[in-house]
């Protein structure tokens, strides 16, 4: 089913209509997590460990419970026992058991009649700790004397003889790496470090939960995936999933951080203890930073062999990543396959370990693992290009993966668009701008798998011929608009006649979250299938009316029409006419589609950044920024550009200033936006975008996911640009002014 011949011959796909939720969002009417309230509602607050690692010896809530208006307190003792694996991890993270494992780990929760009262009560809950030695740095956590965070936590994959904090191990590759290095003209190695960063969504986690004595509950929650919330909350509380109904709110950003639970089940546990009164829990920003799911920190060794003409002969990486005090949270399984995914290299060896540390339970963050891997590999590639005086785009073109390339992680690529992004970057005017003193340019490419996943969509025709589409993937960046466009395109009706709703868990089969850049791809694909099903039914209704065979009816321009002259002569029967009569012609008309969506198309992008560095203070100013990425097909180009720009901005933040700073006491030092420095408006230039379209053959409109790849190239691209501007190469993120200035001074002294 080759879709390469797809042209821009669509009626709606590729246009930029106003998004359906735009009005609500510019008037303040859109309801986010903290905007729900219910009669009789209580407010909750959480008691959190001030220690990075401590035994919990005693919890005394009697003073809190003695306050007028305090209705319930829960601790781990209120949760069921006997959980295993990730369910146990989730429960352990919801409320600490024997030990607090990181600064901010929840220890108890309280519900009261007002938010202030709940906070007052939380301060009155006494917790006695026995402080234990802690470790927060990934390399320190592997050293012989490092405190063991969980005895016996290592899984099947870890070879004998590693530190008990090493809990997962992975290794793969192909070809003869030693022979590859021997064939190279230069072989270079480097060690690179990235600090943990936070997704930094502006909306703190918020949830209203209600559960009666009968164990039936409801939740209203901001999340990327409410079926995940349902499954995880049910597991943590030991209740049946079907007894829990979860309604997603509008979501104020997620970027991976809202694909799991942190405190949501506490609302249900408190509600049940408080006689079924609904309970609202809204995190503070400090709680978000201390106790949700930042990304992993990484320490990475890279070795690359290159010929003088830029041909890469072999590559090797060893990644060490910590994802907190819980097994399975670091993205080693994603980082390794991403490391060399952009290239066609005959010999590769990948190895990684996951290490426990006294930090919060990491969650996904936009292309999990890929930015770190790219920082290491693309940085060393750039260093070698400079050493050999080769153009970084030419070297990437020479080694670029394309259709038929055996990927770094094994499978053969089908049609992909990396080469097209490199060509477009090379041709862009930004690449030809001459730079001034203290300025530098950096180039890097990036990759993300993209994802399909479990998807259930339902579509119903209205009596007036308008169409409602029920989807289960919360809309974070405009996906309702793109799904409405594809549905309207498929049915042949105006965009305005399609309304797409994100519906609750009671209304559809299981949907995975909006993650893995899948919402427009997977829910869109399922919506198209559901529309086709409804079209088939509408053709049947018309056929019955006309008393001809259904096969003799075709659907065109929003109406059933006789398929050719032999079918008979009837005027087109529009969707509005069919809808108006459907009660009498067989009942409601709907379509639905349930799938574990396949046909995913891999995503590649190339970024070009120009910076100027103040040589006396080490501060980097981003002068201009270019994102080129393959979208497959851009359904709503404005929101595709938005994903590119947003990804780049997050990557710029990660590269320059964002980091988790732990003190020697193991406490997080920067728990507010004042010191967790995400880019502000005056930090950034306009972000230029080029949408490359190499349609994905696995999607009816050629869609590839566009959400994640954009965060990957900025890290190495900025390191390259700073290296050109200053002569100093930074191998550790963030490239904050003190580090850049120190590197400049070291370079001068050398």
């Amino acid at each position: 089913m080759a879709k390469d011949e797809i042209t821009k011959g669509y009626r709606l796909v590729g246009t930029r209509p106003n998004r359906p939720d735009g009005l609500d969002k510019v008037t303040g009417r859109a309801r986010y997590g903290a905007d729900f309230s219910l009669p009789g509602m209580l407010w909750a607050a959480v008691v959190r460990s001030p220690h990075a690692h401590a035994k919990i010896k005693r919890i005394d809530a009697s003073k809190a419970l003695a306050l007028d208006g305090v209705k319930a307190v829960v601790t781990r003792a209120d949760l069921p026992t006997g959980l295993e694996g990730e369910d146990l991890n989730l429960q352990e993270n919801t409320l600490a058991g024997e030990k607090a494992l990181y600064d901010g780990h929840a220890v108890a929760a309280v519900a009261a009649t007002s938010q202030l009262l709940a906070q007052d009560a939380a301060r009155l809950i006494e917790v006695e700790y026995e402080v234990l030695p802690h470790v927060t740095d990934v390399d320190e956590a592997m050293k012989p004397g490092a405190p063991v965070i969980r005895e016996g936590a290592a899984d099947y994959s870890v070879p004998e003889g590693m530190h008990p904090n090493v809990v997962r191990h992975m290794e793969f590759g192909h070809g003869d790496v030693e022979a590859g290095f021997a064939a190279a003209d230069i072989v270079r190695e480097g060690t690179y470090k990235t600090e943990a960063t936070h997704q930094g969504y502006i909306e703190p986690h918020a949830c209203v939960g209600q559960m009666g004595e009968d164990g039936r509950g409801e939740m209203w929650v901001c999340t990327q995936g409410h079926w995940y919330i349902r499954r995880m909350s049910a597991a943590v509380l030991g209740i049946e999933a079907a007894n829990l109904r979860v309604t997603p709110s509008e979501i104020g950003g997620g970027f991976g951080g809202k694909t799991t639970i942190f405190m949501e089940p506490l609302t249900l546990a408190l509600s049940k203890k408080a006689g079924g009164r609904p309970v609202k829990l809204v995190m503070s920003r400090a709680e978000v930073l201390r106790a949700t799911g930042p990304t992993a920190s990484a320490s990475m060794d890279v070795k690359i062999g290159m010929k003088k003409d830029g041909t890469v002969t072999a590559g090797q990486v060893m990644f060490r990543m910590q994802g907190g005090a819980f097994v399975g949270m670091s993205p080693i399984g994603e980082a390794l396959p991403c490391a060399f995914a952009c290239y066609d290299i005959p010999a590769l060896k990948h190895e990684a370990v996951e290490v426990l540390a006294n930090r919060p339970k990491a969650a996904a963050y936009r292309a999990p693992g890929s930015p770190m891997a790219a920082f290491a590999v693309e940085s060393l590639m750039d260093e070698m290009c400079r050493e050999l005086h080769l153009d970084p785009i030419e070297v990437r073109l020479k080694n670029a993966a394309k259709e038929g390339t055996k990927s770094s992680y094994g499978p053969i690529y089908n049609r992909i668009g990396l080469v097209e992004t490199l060509e477009a970057a090379k041709a862009h005017p930004n690449y030809a701008i001459r730079l001034g003193p203290n300025q530098g340019r950096g180039v890097a490419s990036g990759f993300w798998f993209n994802h399909g996943g479990e998807t259930s969509v339902s579509l119903a025709i209205g009596e007036d011929g308008t169409v409602q589409v029920s989807i289960g993937t919360p809309d974070i960046g405009g996906s309702r608009a793109s799904i409405a466009l594809m549905t309207a395109e498929t049915i042949g009706i105006p965009y305005e006649n399609v309304r797409v709703n994100v519906v609750e868990t009671g209304a559809l089969g299981v949907n995975e979250p909006t993650h893995g850049s899948r919402a427009t791809f997977a829910s869109g694909k399922a919506a198209v299938e559901a529309a086709r099903q409804a079209i088939a039914e509408m053709c049947r209704r018309a056929a019955a009316e006309w008393e001809i065979e259904p096969e003799a009816v075709e659907w065109k321009d929003g109406a059933a029409q006789p398929a050719g002259p032999n079918a008979g002569k009837f005027p087109p029967m529009t969707i509005a006419e069919i809808g108006a009569k459907m009660g009498g012609t067989g009942g409601p008309i709907s379509g639905h589609h349930e799938t574990n969506a396949g046909g995913v198309g891999a995503s590649f992008g190339t970024h070009v950044v120009d910076v100027e560095v103040d040589p006396e203070t080490g501060r980097t100013t981003v002068l201009r920024y270019l994102v080129v990425q393959d979208a497959g097909t851009a359904i709503h180009p404005a929101y595709v550009e938005g994903q590119y720009q947003g990804g780049a901005a997050q990557g710029i933040g990660w590269a320059l200033n964002e980091e988790y700073v732990y003190g020697s006491d193991g406490r997080l030092q920067n728990t507010v936006f004042l010191d967790y420095r995400i880019p502000v408006a005056s930090d950034l230039p306009m972000i230029d975008t080029v949408i490359v379209e190499v349609p994905n053959p696995g999607h009816p409109y050629g869609v590839r996911g566009v959400g994640e790849t954009g965060i990957t190239p900025p890290l190495p691209a900025l390191a390259a640009a700073i290296a050109e501007a200053t002569g100093a190469r930074l191998r550790s993120l963030p490239m904050s002014p003190p580090k850049v200035l120190a590197a400049i001074k070291a370079k001068r002294q050398a």
Binding site: D35, I202, I678
Partner: protein, 159 residues
């Protein structure tokens, strides 16, 4: 904790509420007046999601106590469209896709309106620095700045 009776004016309406003196104006708008369009992103004045104007001055409502609102005039996002007519900024934000998740949008709109009220023809740099206290994590600010520029141009044209 004894509550304080506060009489104030929000979006042209006289309103009253009882505030715990520790409650912020943001808490009072959201929890006592059900004006949930004003958002809390940080509670420390660092994100701007709670932007409102207080007697015409742009402030973070998380950095104002509810009791301080006595006798003041407050404007929130809910008052920005008048008589069912969107403010040009609101329209341009939709047209330019200047919002993704939309959580920061009310605060940014209130702040941008305050800018255009004082400077009808701001440069890109003036827009960026004026809005530096309004964090957006989704857009990279590009489309936001363009939407403000376009709204300003339209408003100048109309004036």
């Amino acid at each position: 904790m004894k509550k304080v009776h506060v009489t104030t004016n929000v979006n042209g309406d006289q309103v009253e509420f009882l505030a715990d003196p520790r409650e912020t104006l943001l808490d009072c708008l959201r929890n006592h007046l059900d004006l949930t369009g004003t958002k809390e992103g940080c509670g420390t004045g660092d994100c701007g999601a709670c932007s409102v104007t207080l007697d015409g001055t742009l402030v973070c409502s998380c950095l104002v106590l509810g009791v301080e609102a006595e006798g003041k005039k407050i404007e929130t996002i809910e008052g920005m469209a008048s008589d069912g007519e969107l403010h040009p900024l609101q329209r341009k934000f939709i047209e330019h896709a200047a919002l993704q998740c939309g959580f920061c949008t009310p605060g940014i709109l209130v702040a941008a309106k305050s800018l255009l009220d004082t400077n009808p023809d701001p440069s890109e740099s003036e827009i960026r620095f004026w809005l530096a206290g309004n964090l957006c994590r989704c857009t990279g600010y590009d489309k936001i700045v363009r939407a403000v520029q376009d709204a300003a141009a339209e408003m100048r044209g109309a004036a």
